[in-house]
C-alpha cells in the first residue's frame, strides 16, 4: 500500500482516540468529585479534542482528507478507528481516572516516538503536544498515588479499576497490518514497540502505588478495524447532533 495511505490510517486512529476520549472526559464537566477535578477533566477534554482537530487538519491539509469538522461529525460508526478503551462510559471516578492514567502514558510514548518521525507534520505536532502531555501524566500519577495511599477501600477501588481497564488499555496497541512498513519508513516504531515503552512508563508508578499490574491476557481488539462497542454509536449521535442540523453552517 502507498505510504501516504498508511500514514492516513495511523493519524485517523490517533485522532479518533483523542476525539472520543476528549468527549468522554468532557462528560465530567459539572460532575467532578471536587472542583479541581471538574476543571482538570474539562481541561484535558479540551486538550484532547484540540489534538484530534490538529491531527484531522494534517489529514485535510497534507493528505487530501476531508474538512476536519465533516470528518469528525459526519462519518459512520464503522469508519471510526478508536480503541474500545476510549468508548466506554465514564463510569465512576476511579474508572475514569485509571483510563486517563493508562491512556495518557500511552499517548505520551506515542508522541515521543514521533519526535523524529520522517513524516514532518507529525514530527511538528509531536513537538507541540509532548510538553502539554506532561501535565496530563503528572495529574494522573499524582491522583493514582494519592488514592492508593488513602486507606483500604480506596486502594481496592484503584486495583479494581486497573483490573477493569488493563485489557482495554492493551487494545490501544492493536497492531496494524502495515506497522512494519511504517517502522521501516521511520514514521513511527509500530504498536508492539510502543506497548513495551508504555509498560516501562506505567510500571514504576504502579509499583509506587503498590498496585499489581495484570498480565496482557485478552487485549480488547477490534476498534482499529472499525468494530466497536455498543457505547460508540450513542456517543456519536450526541456529539454530532447540532452539527448535523446544518452541516453547511459556518461556525
Amino acid at each position: 500500500m502507498l505510504l501516504n495511505q498508511l500514514i492516513k490510517e495511523l493519524i485517523t486512529k490517533m485522532g479518533d482516540d483523542e476525539l472520543i476520549l476528549g468527549h468522554r472526559n468532557s462528560e465530567w464537566t459539572g460532575l467532578g468529585p471536587v472542583m479541581e477535578e471538574d476543571i482538570a477533566f474539562s481541561s484535558m477534554a479540551q486538550d484532547k479534542i484540540g489534538h484530534s482537530w490538529a491531527l484531522y487538519r494534517i489529514l485535510h491539509e497534507e493528505l487530501g482528507g476531508e474538512d476536519p469538522d465533516q470528518f469528525a461529525f459526519m462519518r459512520s460508526e464503522k469508519d471510526f478507528k478508536c480503541c474500545h478503551l476510549t468508548e466506554m462510559p465514564i463510569g465512576s471516578y476511579d474508572f475514569s481516572l485509571m483510563r486517563h492514567f493508562l491512556f495518557d502514558h500511552a499517548e505520551t510514548v506515542r508522541y515521543n516516538s514521533m519526535l523524529q518521525s520522517s513524516f514532518l507534520p507529525l514530527q511538528q505536532l509531536a513537538r507541540k503536544v509532548r510538553g502539554e502531555l506532561k501535565y496530563h501524566t503528572l495529574h494522573a500519577d499524582a491522583w493514582i498515588m494519592q488514592l492508593c495511599r488513602a486507606g483500604e477501600e480506596s486502594y481496592l477501588k484503584m486495583q479494581t479499576a486497573l483490573d477493569n481497564c488493563f485489557q482495554l488499555a492493551c487494545g490501544i496497541f492493536e497492531a496494524g497490518p502495515d506497522d512494519k512498513q511504517l517502522a521501516a519508513e521511520n514514521v513511527y516504531p509500530g504498536e508492539e514497540a510502543l506497548y513495551e515503552q508504555w509498560i516501562e512508563a506505567i510500571y514504576p508508578v504502579l509499583v509506587k502505588a503498590s498496585l499489581n499490574m495484570p498480565e496482557r491476557k485478552q487485549p480488547v481488539y477490534g476498534g482499529r478495524y472499525g468494530k466497536h462497542t455498543a457505547y460508540l454509536q450513542p456517543l456519536l449521535n450526541e456529539m454530532g447532533e447540532v452539527f448535523r442540523l446544518n452541516p453547511e453552517a459556518t461556525w
Binding site: E36, E37, I39, A40, S42, S43, M44, Q46, D47, K48, I49, G50, H51, W53, A54, P121, Q124, L125, R127, K128, V129, R130, G131, E132, K134, Y135, L138, H139
Partner: protein
C-alpha cells in the same frame, strides 16, 4: 502597495493586539509572532498558539488582521506557523512582570525540558513566598495551573512552564 510602511509600524500596531484570556499581554509579549513578511499584495503575519488546543486562536488571528488593516491600511493575512512551536521561554521579561502584577505567577525559565520539580514549585505572586504547593495542574484556561500559598493563605494561578 504603500511602500512607506515600516516594520516598526507593523510592530507598533501588533503591540495593540491583546490576548483575550490575559488582556494585559499583547501578542508580541507572549512570543506568539514568529515572522512579519511584506508580500507583493499583502502583509503576512505568522503566529503560533500557546497551547495546541487554545480556543482563542481564531479570535487572535482575526484581531491581528483587523487591527493591522485599520492601522496600516493594507491587506493583511495571518497564518499559523507550523515550523515553530511555542514554549514558555518565549514570554518576554516585560510579559512576566505584567503577569506578576496581574496576580498570575510567571513561568520559570527552563532549559529545553520542564522538570516535574519546576511544575510543582513556584513563588507566590502576591507575597513572594516559596512556601507554596501545586493544587492542580489545570486552571481556568489551558495555560494556567492552580497553586496555594501557605504563607499568605492565598490561592493563585500560574502561567504554566511549557517545553
Amino acid at each position: 502597495m504603500n511602500s512607506t510602511i515600516t516594520i516598526q509600524a507593523v510592530y507598533t500596531s501588533l503591540e495593540q493586539v491583546m490576548d483575550p484570556e490575559i488582556p494585559v499581554l499583547n501578542v508580541l509579549e507572549l512570543g506568539m509572532i514568529t515572522d512579519v513578511i511584506m508580500e507583493e499584495e499583502y502583509l503576512l503575519i505568522k503566529m503560533i498558539p500557546t497551547f495546541a488546543a487554545c480556543p482563542a486562536v481564531e479570535v487572535i488571528k482575526t484581531n491581528i488582521r483587523t487591527t493591522l488593516e485599520k492601522d496600516l491600511q493594507i491587506p493583511v493575512k495571518v497564518s499559523v506557523d507550523k515550523e515553530v512551536q511555542w514554549n514558555s521561554n518565549r514570554l518576554t521579561a516585560i510579559a512576566k512582570e505584567k503577569l506578576q502584577n496581574f496576580g498570575i505567577a510567571a513561568p520559570q525559565k527552563h532549559e529545553g525540558d520542564v522538570e516535574i520539580d519546576m511544575i510543582m514549585h513556584t513563588n507566590c505572586p502576591h507575597c513572594g513566598s516559596e512556601n507554596t504547593y501545586l493544587r492542580s495542574p489545570f486552571g481556568s484556561t489551558l495555560c494556567r495551573a492552580i497553586h496555594f500559598c501557605k504563607h499568605c493563605g492565598m490561592m493563585f494561578e500560574q502561567f504554566k512552564p511549557l517545553s
